[in-house]
């Protein structure tokens, strides 16, 4: 009952297909967690017991995997996900200043979400756009050759259309 609310509708149908595909296959764990996170933006705890049951893995093991991989999150994210690249190329071209300014503008640290739920910030290790650093992405949109002074303008694009 407790997870009836989130297993309904399209999302629920998608989940059911996925669980059918990986039924009884513990090695599908990471792919299943990806599927859930893609659907909900995070990993709702109430779904994890179902994962354990369907794939036949222990809850402890699931927890171990989730905490090991940095992409998985148990906390809901903001509406817009801001990822600041701190790969070496971006670092050399000033990503530290970009991140500093972002923290100042949004008043949050990496890993957190703004009070209005609009933005989450995370640090990523190399997006592979090294030729264009410093780089950050907001959702899927890439902002290249960033300068700290340009950040207010970048964020404004996402605050205006709430």
């Amino acid at each position: 009952m407790e997870h009836a609310c989130i297993c309904n509708g399209d999302a629920g149908a998608k989940l059911n297909t996925m669980f059918a595909q990986y039924q009884g296959q513990p090695d599908g764990l990471i792919q299943v967690l990806h599927g859930i996170q893609e659907t909900y933006g995070y990993l709702p705890r109430e779904l994890l017991t179902r994962v354990a049951r369907e794939l036949e893995v222990s809850s402890g093991e699931i927890s171990g995997v989730i905490t090991f991989y940095s992409l998985f999150t148990l906390k809901p994210k903001g509406k817009h996900q801001v990822s600041v690249c701190k790969g070496t190329a971006c670092y050399v071209r000033g990503s530290t200043q970009v991140l500093g300014r972002l923290e100042k503008e949004l008043k949050i640290k990496p890993g957190d979400t703004t009070d209005d739920g609009l933005f989450s910030v995370e640090v990523v290790r190399c997006l592979g756009a090294c030729g264009l650093g410093p780089v950050l992405t907001v959702n899927d949109k890439v902002f290249a050759r960033l300068k700290p002074e340009k950040l207010p303008g970048v964020l404004a694009k996402f605050t205006q259309v709430k």
Binding site: Q25, P26, D27, G28, L29, I30, Q31, L33, H34, V57, E61, G64, V65, F68, Y69, S70, L71, F72, K86, G87, T88, A89, C90, Y91, V92, R93, G94, K104, V124, R125, C126, L127, G128, A129, C130, G131, L132, G133, V135, D140, V142, A144, K147, E149, P152
Partner: protein, 1007 residues
Amino acid sequence: MSTYKKMNILVCSGAGCISSGCKDVYQTLHEHIGNQGLLEEVRVTQTGCMGPCDMGPVIIVYPDGVFYRRVKTEDVLEIVVEHVLKGRVVQRLTYRSPETGDYLTSQQDINFFKQQTRVALRNCGQINPERIEEYINNKGYCALGKALKDMKPQEVIQAVKDAGLRGRGGAGFSTGMKWQFSAGAPGPVKYVVCNADEGDPGAFMDRSILEGDPHSVLEAMAICGYAVGAQKGYVYVRAEYPLAVERLGIAIDQARRFGMLGENIFGAGFSFDVEIRVGAGAFVCGEETALLASIEGRRGEPRPRPPFPAVQGLYGKPTVINNVETWACIPPILLQGPEWFASLGTEKSKGTKVFALAGKVVNTGLIEVPMGTPLGEIIFDIGGGVPHGKHFKAVQTGGPSGGCVPARYLNTPADYESLSGLGTIMGSGGMIVMDEDTCMVDLAKYFLEFVQDESCGKCVPCRVGAKRMLELLERITRGEGQPGDIELLEELCHGIKSLSLCGLGQTAPNPVLSTLRYFRKEYEEHIYHKHCPSSVCAGLFISPCQNTCPANVDVPIYIDRIRNQDFAGAYQIIKRENPFPVVCGRVCHSPCETRCRRGLLDEPLAIRRLKKYAADYGVTHQDEITYTKSKDNGKRVSIIGAGPAGLTAAYYLRRKGYQTTVYDAAPVPGGMMALGIPDFRLPKGPLFAEVNDIANLGVKIVLNTKVGKDIPFEQVRSASDAVFIAVGAQHDHKLNIPGEDLKGYMSGVDFLRDVNLGRFPAISGKSVTLVGGGNVTIDAARCAVRLGASEVNIYYRRTRQHMPAMEEEIEQALAEGVRINYLVSPTEILGENGAVTGMVLQPMKLGPFGDMGRRRSVPLDEPPSTVKCDLVIVSISRSAEVGFVDGLEEVLRSSKVAKDTSTGIEGIFTGGDCVLGPATVVEAIAAGKSAAVAIDRYLGGTGQIVEPLDVERKYTGPVIEEERSRMRAPTLPPEARIENFTEVEQTYSKEAAVYEAQRCLRCDVRD
């Protein structure tokens, strides 16, 4: 199959170009071609990465191979109308050579492409990665066909062995051997895995291959499956590469449809299929045993080897794991033969290697060159060198497991062995170029943060050791470093290296070890002097400009005073730290501006010109300035040399109460400021006003007195408690070629001295030739123009970007009609009747890199040429003449002068050009200050020569973050400069100065 088209337009759709907006360019192009009804004749194709990310979006128009860069949607119509319809190349969108300024239309003319050999990247940027037909058209799946039809499995393995292919993921293990082990391992079930968990920050070749040519990887995996007896393959891709996952998925579907994957491939009875596994953000999963654990759905923790995966890998079965780039090399090896592949590269490192050029380099992007290509060629010829006129400091290779290579090793061949000899590794091929703005201690900290974050936590040395090292580095970069920290770091490094379980931990200390090896001085600066020379470690400086100023001037505060129209206040702020604001406002090489953060946004603040405005105001409004004098302390200091170093020392020592006497051989005070810099750059009036300020404090200046000749040194020494020797570098070096004794040969310094003393040489109507590339040469040339020379030619052995002279000066000289000839070196001065008539010049070229990272100039295999001239002025380098002090020459020769200017000879201090060689005014001022500190301490004082500035650092107006270019200062038009020595650069108006000052970002205000 596609039909023949008259024109093919390729639009790069690599991740870099997508970020730059290539999708819209493609759409617009497609629409315009359609609107013109040309879709039958012109094909528009989206390809994978072409390489030059920084120039994106890029497109190439075939059949001519015309290369357009930074194409915007609004440029597309012009390309269609001009190029497609009328056959006229749109020049403004083509590549412009930074050396010659010429537009290079063809891709093959551009250095970035010309010097590459593309094997792994052969199809990237050439085909549409989402259409298997295009891959097949370029010989795709032919190698698989050849293997299945014509070769036995063992023959395939032998070919890979013979090719000498080594793993491109980093370790460089023989690929053929890996296959052999797996083939020989018992059991019916085996696996083939592609490691596409490209975690090394700064490397993106695997991403580009998967996005630009996914079939090459699938084909190679199938070939390997056939060779070792596996039927199933996995590609493990990082989740950060969604486009690679998408295109790989499309490729797998198409390959299955075309029968290149699946059952009974090519009817040869061999079956093979591939599945994608997406990672979830764990760097350690690039380690093969961790990667296998992750494919199995578990935590990606490494396990000890042996057993190696080739014998016991995925699900405990024999598994071949190769990296993406390694796989991409396999099909050409089978098609073109192992001998061909082995003929590329070096003895032990065969074939080619893809490098990802990033960081502070002009042409960022992906390139592929034969193994063994010198690092310098990759960075400077292909990469175009360091942008914005900055200097190359080091290149970081191999990601967090690698190290840094400093400038003196730029001739090193990029191959496995040579790089490991320098304490770094090839790794996956990331090459991150760093300039003087990168702090090596902070860089080490950055990598330690990374490793500490990514350590899987299984073994203690890596998990705890990395953390302890990081804490140490954090302490050092906060300015809390202690003696012994470096030794402790080294001890930890060696412990972690030898005790960690997997490659991640074993190589984690490399960035620290390598920066300690090549940049130990920077660590010492941080620990012992609490100084970060690159202005990165925020706790160690006020602002980058102040931190970079050799004289330590508090730039943001005086800029703020100017902004608030307190010009006398600004002048006094400068004068606290620098007794020569008027001089530095005119001739300083302003290193502060090269570090100005505003330069990242639009242009650096015009700090020097603002200083000039404040200085000129101060000199002409002396009534608004207050000076404090100290009481005599009864001690006496003599200073030899009234140049910037000597007078600066005198200024501060006098203010501390010392009785100070300055001796100089010249008839005027100021040293090179008065005798080496012409009036059109630094008028004597304001200079002497500043010298007078010093004299007015009570400093005694004795002119026309050469110590050691006019009076004995012993007399000076015995009359003082300490002596500061600041005689400069007056002795000009000769070229050591025939003809230097001819009449009409002069040294640059002698020539400028004569001009400055009004003894104008009679050169009207004569042809003047100068040799050298520094400020003295340029100043002398500009004097010659003003003295009516018929022509003035400078000959320099390197190229313009190597000239040590200030860029602004070079431009002024050219505007005044001076001609500069590059890449020539004089071999003889010709004469008749004892007078100069000409010079013989050898053509030169740029050769290997020298110790400072500058290319050496070496003779070209061409005959010398002869030029006619009446006067030859040479200024190549200078040194000091200090024979009048016993033992001082030896101290200078063996570089034994301490940083604080003490010499080891009791009571004798020395600094400025006589120690540094010909340097700049502000460096001499810095030396003078050091001497004042050292002498004060030596004579029992505190060494504090400037009281700390008591000022609140706060914004006094809005910070302007919109782009705003710097204010230009007006200059005299060139035609008004000839035949007079009037100052060329004019001072800002009040309004201009205030406007420019408003551009300051106030990096000193911290919140």
